[in-house]
């Protein structure tokens, strides 16, 4: 009896304290301050700051989608799982000298690559000048002698690069429009053009979503162009990263060795490279009977929700 009397107020205060803590953590999460907002010809752009986390948000009205986030007090750390996942391409090409990134966003992928490989020549192609301005002003993105942004449609950029005989060791496709990847950047013909600007030992890393019916079309198309690819998914992310190269894919043992070699360098960016080799799968988990997306047939954004 005595004990009960003593413990009750303690339990009460613990409950109260937990409630308060929960309340404040919720309040802190919901109180996000919009520090910049603008409408470009392609989309609405918003920069939202929440504590130390600053995010670039596109498509503000329908299902806010964070394009890139950065921790302003720890700028090197990559906030999103899919951004970290895109560095799995280094398991196939550990020392890229020429890099192409299609789609700037907040610029975290090109900036990290520039940090990792200061000598590498990095081309970034972004369709929207407003995104470039926002990345520079709010996301610490800076062009330098080795990293240049071109404001252009990625398809046009790749076609021109192919004409000039340009080759890249590392290509990241991360171009997203309002809803998804623009249709003309999903077709067999486009991937064929990308193939022509890949160096012999170059790697292609494409960020996609792992959503329903469209996933099948996309997978079938990549398979059609590259025969095989690593399908990289993590339970923590709705993204699926496609990683492929011109020659046949390396065995897992080699990936593990490379992960061990590079893991330390990637630690400060929060990329758990050692966990990745086990997750790179070549297993077909899509419906092979789906139609390949071509310039003639690419209703990608209509298929997505079906």
């Amino acid at each position: 009896m005595d004990k009960k009397v003593h413990y009750l107020p303690l339990a009460k205060s613990i409950v109260l304290l937990t409630c308060l803590l929960l309340y404040f953590s919720v309040v802190e999460q919901t109180v996000a301050e919009t520090i910049h907002q603008e409408r470009s010809i392609y989309r609405d752009i918003m920069v939202v700051q929440n504590g130390y986390r600053r995010c670039l948000v596109f498509n503000v009205h329908r299902g806010d989608r964070n394009q890139t986030c950065v921790e302003v007090n720890d700028r090197d750390r990559l906030v999103f799982s899919y951004t970290r996942m895109s560095f799995a391409g280094l398991l196939l090409q550990p020392q890229p000298e020429t890099i192409l990134v299609a789609g700037l966003g907040g610029g975290s992928i090109p900036m990290t690559l520039n940090n990792l490989f200061p000598e590498a020549k990095i081309d970034v192609v972004e369709i929207d000048q407003a995104v470039v301005n926002v990345a520079k002003e709010y996301f610490f993105f800076e062009e330098n002698d080795n990293m240049k942004v071109t404001v252009k449609d990625a398809r046009v950029f790749v076609k021109r690069a192919a004409l000039r005989g340009k080759k890249y060791d590392y290509i990241v496709l991360d171009a997203f429009g309002g809803d998804y990847i623009p249709e003309h950047l999903l077709t067999r013909e486009f991937l064929g053009e990308v193939k022509t600007i890949m160096a012999v030992d170059g790697v292609l890393v494409a960020n996609t979503f792992s959503t329903s019916r469209f996933y099948d079309h996309e997978s079938v198309t990549y398979q059609d162009v590259f025969n095989e690819f690593f399908n990289f998914k993590l339970p923590t992310s709705g993204n699926r990263i496609i990683i492929t190269q011109l020659s046949s894919l390396p065995p897992r043992g080699e990936l593990v060795t490379r992960a061990q070699n590079a893991a330390d360098r990637l630690k400060k960016y929060g990329v758990p490279l050692l966990e990745y080799p086990a997750r790179l799968s070549t297993r077909v988990d899509w419906d092979m009977s789906r139609r390949v997306l071509t310039d003639q047939y690419s209703p990608a954004n209509l298929l997505r929700d079906n």
Partner: protein, 217 residues
């Protein structure tokens, strides 16, 4: 004498075929951006180029069609607009790459690239399709008092056709067919419409001459 000739094709037929032309114009226009994206990208200016060229071509078509309607308006010329528009749309399917490749190579700026590509591919067929509207008005109008009413009716139907073509293409056709299949469909529709007018005209003029012969007999 012109009077009897223009009467050879009933108003309902003119209205119906105007729907087809409106439908096909927008089907072809909606596919324009898709066709040009591989060379000039999916940027806003590609749509700008397409719409500009369609508007200019239609404007010129209206002018020329109106002119032509002053000289002996007849169903055969009318049918020829549909068939010619179909024939001049063929390069969009058969030579799209041949047309766009050199433009892409010579013009670096995709705005002007897409503008010239639009001119090369769309100007002529759209201009011919534009001739159909004023010519239709001429075939429909039998008196001054009715001219405004007929023109209104015609633009109503052909614009509804355009709306249907836009919606059908962008919502549904692209989901089930290749771009070229949809274009072939439009070409087939235009040619069939032209042939339909010719046949209609043929049977009606036969019937007319027979009744005329009977009258004289």
């Amino acid at each position: 004498m012109n009077q009897t000739k223009t009467q050879l094709i009933p108003g309902a037929v003119v209205i119906a075929v105007a729907f087809v032309s409106g439908f096909c114009i927008m089907t072809i226009e909606m596919l324009g951006a898709r066709i040009m994206a591989p060379y000039f990208g999916g940027s806003q200016y590609v749509w700008g180029s397409i719409i500009t060229i369609f508007m200019l071509a239609l404007a010129l078509g209206y002018l020329l069609g109106g002119r032509l309607s002053m000289r002996n308006p007849n169903p055969v010329t009318y049918a020829m607009f549909f068939i010619a528009a179909a024939v001049f749309s063929l390069p969009i399917i058969l030579f799209a790459d041949v047309i766009m490749q050199p433009i892409f190579l010579t013009i670096d700026d995709p705005r002007y690239g897409s503008l010239f590509a639009s001119i090369a591919m769309y100007f002529v067929p759209t201009c011919i399709l534009g001739m159909i509207s004023p010519y239709s008005v001429r075939l429909l109008v039998k008196s001054h008092e009715h001219s405004g009413h007929m023109a209104g009716k015609l633009y109503f139907v052909s614009t509804i056709g355009s709306a249907a073509g836009t919606l059908g293409t962008s919502f549904y056709f692209v989901l089930y067919f290749d771009v070229n299949q949809i274009l072939w469909g439009s070409i087939a529709a235009l040619i069939s419409t032209g042939c339909f007018i010719l046949l209609f005209n043929y049977f009606l003029s036969n019937a007319a001459s027979r009744s005329q012969a009977q009258n004289y007999g």
